[in-house]
C-alpha cells in the first residue's frame, strides 16, 4: 500500500513544484518501486465490500517490469514544459499499482479507470484532439466491457474478490464464460491494442507526450496482457480454459493477424512515432497468440515477449523522444544523416533494433523462439507461417526507422544538432545492457518467471542458466553470445589490417561523376518502400478505422432521419400534443366513456 500512497503523494507534490519536479518525481518513483517489492497483503472493508490487496507472483513480475521501466523513463528528459506532465505520469503509475496489487474487482476497475484517464490527459493536445478523444472513447468502451463483466460476476457470486470468482466458477455455464471472456477481453484488448480494437493506438502513441510514450508502449499496454493472463488462467483456471478450443483458436488467430498486419502497416509510415506504434501493436500480437495457446511454453513465451518488448521499445521511444527534442521534426521526410550528430543514440538504437528483429544474441530472440516452439508443439502450422511473416515485416520497418533517422545524406538544416541529453543516453544504455543480458542468459529469465508460471498453473520448462530446452529443441543463449563476441573480435581484427582509410566527405560519393553540394538532396528516404505500396494500394485502402467511422456516420445519419419527427419547432410539438390528446379522447369514448 505504501507504493500506491507514494505514487499518489508524488503526483500531488509534483503538481505544486516547478523546477525540481523532475527530481522529486524520480525519487518518488524509485521509492515506490522499491516499496512494491515488499508489499504486504491488506484487507479492509468499505461499505458492504471486502477489499483485498496483495502481491501475487504474477503481479510481482509485471510490477517489476512495468514500474522499473517507469523509473527509467521518469529519468529521461521531458520534451514538454507543461506543469501536468509529472503529476499525470505519477497518477497513471498510481492507477497501475492499484491494478497490480488488487485482488478484488472494485479496486481493479478503479485503478483501470484512473490509469486510462490520466494517460488520456497525457495524449490530448490542442493540435490533434481527435487522437486523444479516440483513445478516451476506446478506453471507455473497453472499461464498460470490464464493468459489465464485473457486474455479471457480482450478480452470480455475490462477492467482488478474485478468489470467489475462481472458486465459484461452476455457477457459470460454458456459454456464459465465453461471454465473460468476450466482455473482459474487450477491455483488455483495447489496452493491448489487439486488432480490431487498435484504432486508437497509431495516433494515440504519436500524440502522447514524448518520453511518456516509451512508458505507454512499454508499460501500459502490458496491462492488457496482465488482464488476459488473469482472466484466462487465474479466474477460469488453466485446466478449464484448455477445453475452450474455439476461443483459444480465435484469440490465437486474432493475435497472429495483429502481429502481421501491424508490421505490414508499419512499413509504410512516414512519422517516427506512428511507425513505432504499429510495431508495438505487432509485438503485442505475439504475446496474445502465445498466451492463448495455454501451454507452459506459450505462457513463458508471452512473459518473455512482455519483458523484451518493454526493454527495446523503451529504448526506441526514448530515441525518438531525443530526436524530436533536438530537431523538432518527426517525419522521415525531414530527417536523415543524424549518425554524425548523435552517435551514442545511434549505437543504442541499433542494438534495440537488433532486439526488435529477434536476432541472437539480443533479448528478442528467445521470446520469438519460444513462441515458435509453442506453436509447433500446439499444432498450429498456419499460425507459425503468419508469425514468421510478421517477423519478416519487422526487418523492413525497423530498417526504415534506422535509415530514415540516422542514415543517408544530412540536410544542411540538421548540421548543428547536438547529441541527445545525457539522461536519455544513460537510461537507454542501461536498458540495452539489460536486453543483452536477457538474450545471453535466457535460463535466468525463466527462473525469474517461474513463480508466476507456477502460480498460473503450468509446469516450468527445462532450463539451465544459459540454455533453454524444450522437447523439440535446445537454445544455448550463452554459447551464441560467446561465439558472437569472439567472431566479432576476429572480424574487427581482420578489418583493421590491409588498406588504410580514405576519408571522404558526404558529398564525395558516387554520382556518376557529377558534383554534389551540401544542399543537394541526395537522399532516399521518402516513399522508401514505394514498390510495395504501389502494388498493394488496394489492400492498404482498407482500414479498421474507416470501418468504425463509417458505423458512426451511419448512426449519425439515421439520427438525422429522426429529425423529421423531432423537428425542434415548438408549433409542431403542440400539434403532436393535440393529436395525441384527440386520439386519447376518441379512445376513451370508444371504450365506453363515463359509464
Amino acid at each position: 500500500m505504501l507504493t500506491i500512497a507514494l505514487y499518489f503523494a508524488g503526483s500531488i507534490i509534483t503538481y505544486f513544484t516547478k523546477k525540481a519536479s523532475a527530481i522529486i518525481a524520480f525519487i518518488f518513483a524509485v521509492l515506490a518501486n522499491i516499496a512494491f517489492v515488499f508489499t504486504k497483503p491488506l484487507n479492509f472493508h468499505l461499505a458492504n465490500f471486502n477489499l483485498n490487496f496483495s502481491l501475487t507472483p504474477l503481479s510481482y513480475i509485471f510490477g517489476i517490469i512495468i514500474l522499473t521501466l517507469a523509473s527509467f523513463v521518469m529519468f529521461c528528459y521531458p520534451n514538454t514544459k507543461e506543469r501536468q506532465y509529472y503529476p499525470l505520469f505519477l497518477l497513471s503509475l498510481t492507477g497501475i499499482s492499484i491494478i497490480l496489487l488488487s485482488n478484488n474487482f472494485l479496486s481493479f476497475f478503479f485503478g483501470w479507470e484512473l490509469m486510462s484517464v490520466s494517460s488520456f490527459f497525457l495524449i490530448y493536445n490542442n493540435k490533434d484532439r481527435k487522437a486523444g478523444l479516440l483513445y478516451l472513447v476506446a478506453s471507455a468502451v473497453g472499461a464498460y466491457g470490464i464493468l459489465m463483466g464485473i457486474s455479471v460476476v457480482y450478480a452470480k457470486t455475490g462477492s467482488i474478490l478474485f478468489s470467489s470468482f475462481s472458486q465459484n466458477l461452476n455457477l457459470f455455464s460454458r456459454r456464459e464464460i465465453v461471454y465473460l471472456i468476450f466482455l473482459f477481453g474487450a477491455g483488455f484488448g483495447v489496452k493491448a491494442a489487439l486488432m480490431p480494437l487498435h484504432i486508437w493506438a497509431p495516433d494515440g502513441y504519436r500524440e502522447a507526450r514524448d518520453p511518456f510514450t516509451a512508458f505507454f508502449s512499454g508499460g501500459l499496454s502490458k496491462l492488457g496482457i496482465y488482464g488476459f493472463l488473469l482472466l484466462l488462467f487465474v479466474f477460469i483456471g488453466t485446466d478449464r480454459f484448455a477445453t475452450f478450443h474455439i476461443t483459444k483458436w480465435t484469440l490465437a488467430w486474432l493475435g497472429g493477424l495483429t502481429a502481421f498486419l501491424g508490421g505490414f502497416y508499419a512499413i509504410f509510415q512516414t512519422d517516427i512515432k506512428r511507425l513505432l506504434a504499429f510495431s508495438s501493436i505487432s509485438q503485442m500480437g505475439y504475446a496474445i497468440t502465445a498466451l492463448s495457446l495455454s501451454t507452459s511454453l506459450g505462457v513463458t513465451a508471452s512473459l518473455y515477449t512482455v519483458l523484451s518488448h518493454a526493454l527495446f521499445k523503451g529504448i526506441l521511444f526514448i530515441t525518438a523522444a531525443s530526436v524530436i527534442l533536438r530537431t523538432g521534426k518527426h517525419s522521415f521526410d525531414e530527417l536523415g544523416g543524424l549518425v554524425k550528430n548523435m552517435p551514442l543514440t545511434f549505437i543504442v538504437s541499433v542494438f534495440a533494433v537488433i532486439g526488435l528483429n529477434g536476432v541472437p544474441p539480443m533479448g528478442g530472440f528467445p521470446a520469438k523462439w519460444l513462441v515458435y516452439e509453442g506453436l509447433i508443439k500446439a499444432h498450429y502450422p498456419g499460425l507459425i507461417a503468419l508469425m514468421f511473416a510478421a517477423s519478416t515485416t519487422a526487418f523492413l520497418y525497423s530498417y526504415r526507422f534506422i535509415h530514415g533517422v540516422f542514415f543517408g545524406k544530412r540536410m544542411p538544416s540538421l548540421k548543428n544538432i547536438k547529441e541527445a541529453p545525457f539522461v536519455n543516453i544513460l537510461s537507454s544504455t542501461i536498458l540495452m545492457l539489460a536486453l543483452l543480458f536477457i538474450g545471453m542468459f535466457p535460463g535466468w529469465v525463466v527462473d525469474f518467471f517461474s513463480p508466476a508460471i507456477k502460480f498460473l498453473g503450468f509446469k516450468v520448462m527445462v532450463h539451465t542458466f544459459g540454455t533453454l530446452s524444450t522437447p523439440l529443441g535446445n537454445f544455448n543463449g550463452f554459447l551464441v553470445g560467446i561465439v558472437f563476441i569472439i567472431a566479432g573480435l576476429f572480424a574487427t581484427i581482420v578489418s583493421l589490417f590491409f588498406s588504410r582509410k580514405m576519408r571522404v566527405s558526404s558529398i564525395d560519393t558516387y554520382s556518376s561523376g557529377e558534383a554534389l553540394t551540401e544542399e543537394t538532396p541526395y537522399h532516399y528516404s521518402s516513399n522508401f518502400y514505394l514498390f510495395i505500396q504501389r502494388d498493394f494500394s488496394g489492400f492498404l485502402r482498407l482500414s479498421a478505422r474507416k470501418f468504425y467511422f463509417s458505423i458512426a456516420r451511419f448512426i449519425e445519419n439515421s439520427a438525422q432521419g429522426l429529425r423529421r419527427i423531432y423537428t425542434g419547432n415548438g408549433q409542431v410539438y403542440i400539434w403532436y400534443v393535440i393529436i395525441v390528446w384527440i386520439g386519447l379522447i376518441i379512445g376513451f369514448l370508444y371504450k365506453g366513456g363515463f359509464k
Binding site: S499, M502, V504, S505, I507, D508, Y510, S512, G513, E514, A515, L516, T517
Partner: protein, 172 residues
C-alpha cells in the same frame, strides 16, 4: 607489394570504362563474347570505388574532363589509366576544336596509351597485356606520380577548367 598481391592485381583487373567519344564502340566486342576479356579477369566494375583501371576512350571536352578527374580521384589506390585512341594522345582528328582538351596526360597520369582511331580489339588486348607487364615490373606508378606532382596537375586542370568548388570536391 608481395608476390601474391602483385599476381592477384595482374590477374584481376576491374575496369571503369569512361567512354566519351567514338572509341567505345570497339570496347563492346572486347568485353562480350566475341573477344571475351573476362577470361583474363578483366571485368567491368559497377562504380569507380571498386575499380582498378580507368579506360578513357575518346576526345575530352571540358564537361567530360571534369567528370573524368572526379572519377579518377574517387578510385582507390593503386589505380591505372589506359588512354584509348588518338584523341587522348594529342587530340586526334579534333585537335583544333574549341571545345576539346588535347592531351590527357596533362590532367591525370596515364600508364598505357593505345594508339589508333579507333584501335581494334586485338590492339586493346595488347594494351592490357602491356599494362600487366608494367604492373609486374613495378613500372605502373601513375598513382604515385599523381600524389607527388599534384601541384603541376592541379595547375593544368585549373587552366583548362577553372578552379571551382562545383567540380573539385576533394583535396588530394
Amino acid at each position: 607489394m608481395s608476390g601474391i598481391g602483385k599476381t592477384s592485381r595482374i590477374k584481376s583487373l576491374w575496369v571503369t570504362y569512361y567512354v566519351t567519344g567514338c572509341g567505345g564502340i570497339e570496347l563492346l566486342p572486347v568485353i562480350t563474347s566475341r573477344f571475351d576479356a573476362e577470361r583474363f579477369g578483366i571485368i567491368t566494375s559497377a562504380t569507380p570505388r571498386q575499380s582498378d583501371v580507368l579506360v578513357v576512350s575518346g576526345f575530352l571536352t571540358t564537361k567530360t574532363l571534369r567528370r573524368i578527374i572526379r572519377t579518377y580521384e574517387q578510385m582507390p589506390d593503386p589505380k591505372y589509366v589506359v588512354a584509348l585512341g588518338a584523341c587522348t594522345i594529342n587530340g586526334g582528328i579534333y585537335w583544333d576544336s574549341y571545345s576539346t582538351a588535347d592531351k590527357l596526360e596533362l590532367y591525370i597520369p596515364v600508364d598505357v596509351y593505345i594508339a589508333g582511331c579507333m584501335p581494334r580489339p586485338e590492339s586493346i588486348f595488347m594494351g592490357f597485356a602491356h599494362l600487366m607487364a608494367m604492373i609486374k615490373g613495378d613500372k605502373a606508378d601513375g598513382w604515385k606520380r599523381y600524389h607527388e606532382n599534384y601541384k603541376w596537375y592541379k595547375k593544368n586542370q585549373d587552366k583548362a577548367l577553372g578552379n571551382s568548388k562545383k567540380w573539385r570536391v576533394r583535396d588530394v
